[in-house]
């Protein structure tokens, strides 16, 4: 049971929901950049939420299925055809042996996900299959996929009815909700006003480690640096050049720049879908509101009975 990479996309990696328990060694969790879409993809093909899937960025790539299976595409809509026929998004689909799935450029956000029944099979590193590109661990030989790679996947024996989603959530990516960051009070109120008033532009230099911004420059205050401390995912750091950076799934585990705000967990899936040139604003909410939104988003998955924890 395998799939062959005929043409790699811009950056395609194997991911699960992340490698937890090792940030004290400097090892970032990594994991799917839009975990909401990723989990849906797994559930659609009857997998556990954490089974290994493929994350594609900006341009998908071409893949040949060497065995028949059940597959699904979720996340942002990319052009996608199976042997020339349109391949649906957010729907489990039977793919036959020898068929080629061609995933072109994105028509929407930055990333889409391919999941197959049984998940892709790669070695687990520290309990996870997630690729961390800088460390070169996890996924397929610790790197993004290349032409000729052959990836094994699970054997499909179940006869689960493919699920289709009635309503696909299309979050508004022009607003990222945030809570106050650990150094929020270090920023003068006039600088915070600029931060919340202006629109930021996603920089070309963004990646899974961090989403860099262009546009307004934010003055950090008296000092550019703080005593190095743990960096939460979604932390918005303001380095000396004044251009905020949103720490993301492959983030450095600690950082020394002041953190003005932190993107709320429920909006991290939006960060994974922002692409260079996109414009967005930050909007402040309370910690209590953020936590409520997070658990509301989590409750969405409860209706899938075969969902495992």
């Amino acid at each position: 049971m395998s799939l062959t990479v005929l043409k790699p996309g811009f950056q395609s990696t194997l991911q699960d929901l992340g490698r937890n328990g090792f940030t004290h060694l400097g090892i970032a969790p990594a994991g799917a950049a839009d975990s909401f879409s990723f989990r849906l993809g797994n559930l659609l093909v009857g997998n556990g939420e954490n089974d290994t899937g493929m994350e594609m960025t900006l341009v998908g790539g071409t893949y040949r299925f060497n065995q028949s299976t059940l597959a699904a595409l979720t996340g942002s809509r990319f052009t996608a055809t199976l042997d020339g026929e349109d391949f649906p998004f957010f729907k489990a689909f039977h793919v036959k042996k020898g068929q080629e799935l061609d995933i072109g450029p994105s028509q929407d956000g930055a990333r889409c996900f391919l999941t197959v029944k049984g998940g892709f099979h790669v070695p687990q590193i520290l309990g996870s299959s997630s690729t961390h590109l800088m460390t070169r661990i996890g996924g397929y030989e610790g790197r993004d996929l290349k032409k000729g790679d052959q990836i094994n996947f699970g054997y499909s024996t179940t006869s689960i009815e493919p699920e289709k989603l009635e309503k696909i959530i299309e979050p508004d990516r022009s607003v990222l909700h945030v809570t106050k960051g650990l150094q929020y009070d270090r920023f003068e109120s006039k600088n915070r006003d600029v931060f919340f008033r202006e629109r930021f532009i996603v920089s070309q230099r963004s990646n899974r480690m961090g989403l860099r911004t262009e546009g307004p420059k934010i003055k950090a205050g008296i000092t550019d640096e703080i005593l190095t401390e743990g960096l939460p995912i979604g932390a918005v750091q303001v380095p000396g050049n004044g251009h905020p950076i949103i720490s993301f799934v492959d983030h450095q585990t600690t950082g020394g720049y002041p953190k003005i705000v932190n993107v709320i967990a429920a909006d991290l899936c939006k960060v994974g879908q922002l692409k260079p040139g996109d414009k967005f604003k930050f909007q402040l909410v309370s910690i209590a509101e953020a936590e409520k939104l997070y658990f509301e988003q989590e409750s969405f998955f409860k209706k899938f009975t075969h969902s495992n924890s």
Binding site: H24, T135, E229
Partner: protein, 229 residues
Amino acid sequence: MILDPTVIPASDRSILVQFGDEISEDLHYQVYLFTQGLLSSSHQAISNISPGYSSVLVRLHHKTTLAEGMDTIEEVLKEEHPGDTIPQRTVEIPVCYEDEFGPDLGRVLKHTGYDKEELIERHTSGMYMVYFLGFSAGFPYIGGMDESLATPRLETPRKTVPAGSVGIAGHQTGMYPLSTPGGWNLIGRTPLPLFNRSEPKDTAIRMGDRIRFRTVGRAEFESLGQSQS
């Protein structure tokens, strides 16, 4: 020992436990005890922790609420740590200070006013302290460098710094376990693999270790490198 830090949410899914706001061995001791307490406790509420110089960031398990996370933190803080001490492990780091491995030696010599011999003497005579690992896999935050060696970071960071590079940035000295971008002044390289992809948990250096640098020549650098690989 019962610890009494400030405990505040850092985001809706993480909590910062802050023991102070400076680099000191006393604060490090508290950070170390709490880190070990979290790592050895059987709680289910926490998925990841990141110690820093004077704080520990606690990231919640995906099913845990902030309130539950706070409770777990309180429990671990209240645990007694009778006679706990940091295991005093000293790790010797062989470093080859040849020009080929230290492209910024000239910059550091110019800034400090030392000749190369004196720079090596001062860099290798120190006993260093590993406060924590962070940034990238196996990257040690090291304190205790001779203040007179302090040299500002490069204005433009390198796109790639070879793994094993030893450098100086401001008042810090350190090593790059992985080939990453970086802005430190590179003064040498160690053949010791600091991060091993096949045994990622066994980082060469751990939080709380003491470090000494030892100067090695080109021949020893190569033979050490071969025996390690």
